[in-house]
Every structure is written in C-alpha cells, then in structure tokens.
Amino acid sequence: MKDLAVGAGAGFSGDRVDAPAPVVKTLIAYGGPAAIIFEMLAERTLAYAQLDKLRDPAKGYEPLLELELRPILRDCVTHKIPIIGNFGAANPKGAAAHIERLAKDLGLPRLRIGVVEGDDLSGSEGEAIVRKYIAKEYAGRPFASANVYQGATEIAQALREGAQVVVTGRVADPSLTVGPCLAHYGWSGTDWDKLGGATMAGHLLECGAQVTGGYFADPGMKDVPDLANVGYPITEIAADGSCICTKAANTGGLVDTRTVKEQILYEVHDPAAYLTPDVIADVSEAEVTQVGKDRVRLSGVRGHPRPATLKANVFFDGGWFGEGEISYAGPNAEARARLAADVMRTRMGPLVKMRFDLIGIVSILGDDSGRMLGAAPVGSATDVRLRVAGAHHDEAIVDRLMREVTALWTAGPAGGGGVRVAKRKRLSTTSCFIPRELVPARLSYVE
C-alpha cells in the first residue's frame, strides 16, 4: 500500500485559483490514498470574515470558494480524494451549502459534506468565556469576535464516516493534514511522534507555494525555475509520520533542502515546542534529505503530549485606519516630499499619531515611531513617494487625514502627483488560552 499523499490547493485566502488542478492531477496519477487541503485563514482573514457575516449572514466564508473548487470537485469525487478546507471561515455552514449547490450545478450526485464548528466564540456565551481568560488590560475593549483553534479529531472522524468534503472554521493549519493521517493510518490520539511528524508535513503544506519556491526566490542567490508557474506542494506521509515533500507535476518552482528548511521554521518560535491542538511538535532534531529531484524527506520530528488549552484569537473594534500617498520626481524631489510630510504634521497637529514613509528611501524596515527615517540623512533622491498612515477610533479624523493628503495636490510642494487615499475599518487583536473542555468542537453533516 502506498503512503498517504496530501496536497495543498491553497495557502491563504485569495491564493491562486489555478493552483489546485495540477495538484489533483498529480494525486490521481500517484494512484495511492490521497487528500487535498485548502488552508485559507490567516490571523486577520477570519476577523474580517466575521465582519462580512455581520453585514450579510449569508457571507463570511471564503469568497474564492467556488473558483477554487469548481475546477477540481468532479475529479476529487470521482477519484475518492477528500477535500479538507478551513474555507468555512466565519460561516462553515454557508460554505457547505455553497459546495452543495456547486455539486448540483456540476451534475454530481449528492455529496457527504462534514462541517466542523465550535471554534466561533463571537456570541455572548463565547465572549463570556474569552473575557475570563484574556489579559486584564483588554477588559474595557469593545469585543468584536473570537475564534479558538480546533484540532484534527473531528476532521478525522468525518473522513472515517465517509465525508467527501470537510469544511471547517478556525482549525490549526496543520490539523487539516493531521486529520486525513489519523483517518488513514488509524493512529491513536497519543501517538505523539507520528502526530508530530504529520503536523510538520501539514506545516510544510499550509502556506502553499512557500515550500516550492515562493517567498524564496532571490535572483543570483536562490534561483527558482519558472516561478510564474510555481507548483503547489504535496507531501507523501508514511505510517511513522515522516514524509517526503514534493510538488505538482509539470509545474515551475522547486523543492530542495533550502526551501524545506525555510518553511520548517516559518512562524515557529521554540523549535522543540510548536504548539498545536493535536500535539506539541518538536523539530529540534529533525533532518532533511534530498532524495530525488524536487523530493525532500523530512524525518526525526518528535511529538510531546498536546496542550491542555486551546489558543483563541480575540478581536476588538480597532477604529479606523487611513492612508494616503503622493509622488515627487526629478530635481529636489526628496526635499519636496519631506516638505509635504512637514505640511501634514502641521495641518494634522496632535489629532492623530501618523506614520511617514518616503518610499524609495525608508519605508519598510523602520517602525511606526519613525526613528529610522528620522536618522536617515537627507539625500537627493529623484523618485520618491510620500506615504502617510494613521489610525483613530473616530472615522472623521481618518477622513480628515485623507483630505489633507489629497489637498497636497494643489496646496503642497511643486509637482506632487498620483494621490491615492484609502481607509478601512480595523480590528485589533490579542490571543489567550482556554481549557479545551470549555470549547468542544462539533461535527455535523450536510447531505
């Protein structure tokens, strides 16, 4: 029997919709047991999905759901490749209903769709739980939403019970991969080393192209073939939890020890204690070995008993964020851009704390306090874009900031062009840890 192959169809909300088809094609050609995961929730994505749902209760799930699944749903159903995705976001039932409509539209028989919930703590009961466990400094903040990271158990149960698609809300990213491993190999929930291995396989998959040459290419130092057509990853996970990381056939990109090492440590803090709801994974003694072209083996991952608590991300109303930009070019452009910043400081006064960037000089590496730009010597750059950003609980003040940037067109330094302004509602965030028995996951079916 071949090892279980798990492919990644997406690594964030808004990922490429042409990525999943080559992955599914490769999984079919593989000819062994397989699944495809869609990881589409970052720290901010879910909070904004919660806002969407408040505005329209039918929304709140991944907006690209149909574009992601339409090209592959028939093949996955035909070839018994289950689809597991956290594309349910703030509304897993809504996503499941959408997939049901899509299946009907494609003329497929009714699907068995598992829905994993229990992560959403945005109601008053959930808020009461969260309030008990967040730091005291957040006591007075206006609560917006909260979601707790659920694990792989219910995903595995759904797959064992024949689900062709599993839709979740907030689950830990690697759990999307651990679920099919649990279901396929029948591991117990305390096979810590195996769970640790599968968790790191999931960790390699969860950001899509980040392990196949994306977020990696650096011309002359780390060259990546055909980056424009970078293929998405597949891990072949063995019964002992070790895996081989590879990618969709006939695509660009590469999988080598460098891409795998970078992704192993991505968003990891203590390498001996990568906390998930399923296990504490430990990569401190892990080894990576190139075993073929675009094939890297990851072994030696260990696991320790899972934490007693689950992490919750908590969002508060963060007021409004606004920004504006204007460009200066040619002789003395930098001085004119700096003068425009001075005009903004004078016009806005102490109304709002602003961040200034001179794009082309200092705009990225400095922090919001402006120490780095302040320390940068005044130069003679000839192509400079001023950016001003601020946040305030009062929308009117953010509107004022944008109007003042717009006014630089006629009332600012010479030759200012290309004004762009934008604002958006913002959610401020923290996290806390909640005893898992207080926030159980729930599995149901749409069929």
């Binding site: 440590l265 203590d270 390498p271 990569v283 920004e323 922090d367 601020g390 965030t429």
Partner: protein
C-alpha cells in the same frame, strides 16, 4: 580575514505571530555553520534591530539542519492588525538580519 554580509553565506525567512517576529538563519554550506553560531548572537541581533526596540531576542540553534531561529518580541508595532507599516507582517525583516557583517576565513564563492 574578510568581513561580508551574512547574506553571502546564509539565507532565511521571516514569520509573524502577533507582535512577535521569527527569523530563520540557515547556512548554505555546513562548514559556515559554526562561525555563524559564534558570530550571530542574540546580542548582535538585538543591536542590529535596535531601531525597532525589541523587548527580547531569543535564539534557538538547530545543528542538524545548520539553522538558527531568532524570535524577536515587540518589533511589529502590535502586529499585523495594529501596525501602520506597509509591511505590517515584517516580511522584509529577514533581509535586514542578513545584512549583519560576519568575518569569514576566505571570501565566499
């Protein structure tokens, strides 16, 4: 002995969670790993990021993959949902770390 930017002998990647950034430093060649561990210390990295005032810098060493992982607390202006930076995740920070000067026995190829 020549001094070169760390970039010449190592690569890395930034990740973020909340107001915490982690930056990996991975030796291209195993023979450079020892000097990287000796020279790229918590103190040096904290000083290199002084303008962002990290509240804490912690280093983890992974000899089997010739890598280190630096965890920098309090460098993201509150994190992705609160910062005013264009790069609110701090994705570019690994390339700043890689500008740290290191002394090597011979000029890298």
């Amino acid at each position: 002995m020549p001094t070169v930017p760390l970039y010449r002998i190592a690569h890395g990647r930034t990740g973020d969670k909340g107001d915490r950034s982690n930056i990996s430093v991975i030796a291209y060649k195993p023979e450079h790993f020892k000097l990287i561990v000796e020279q790229v210390t918590e103190e040096k990295v904290a000083a290199h990021f002084a303008y962002r005032k990290p509240s804490k810098v912690t280093r983890y060493v992974l000899p089997k993959i010739h890598a280190m992982n630096f965890v920098l607390d309090g460098v993201l202006d509150g994190g992705v949902n609160d910062a005013l930076n264009l790069d609110m995740h701090g994705k570019a920070l690994s390339f700043h770390l890689l500008t740290l000067p290191v002394t090597v026995p011979t000029e890298p190829a």
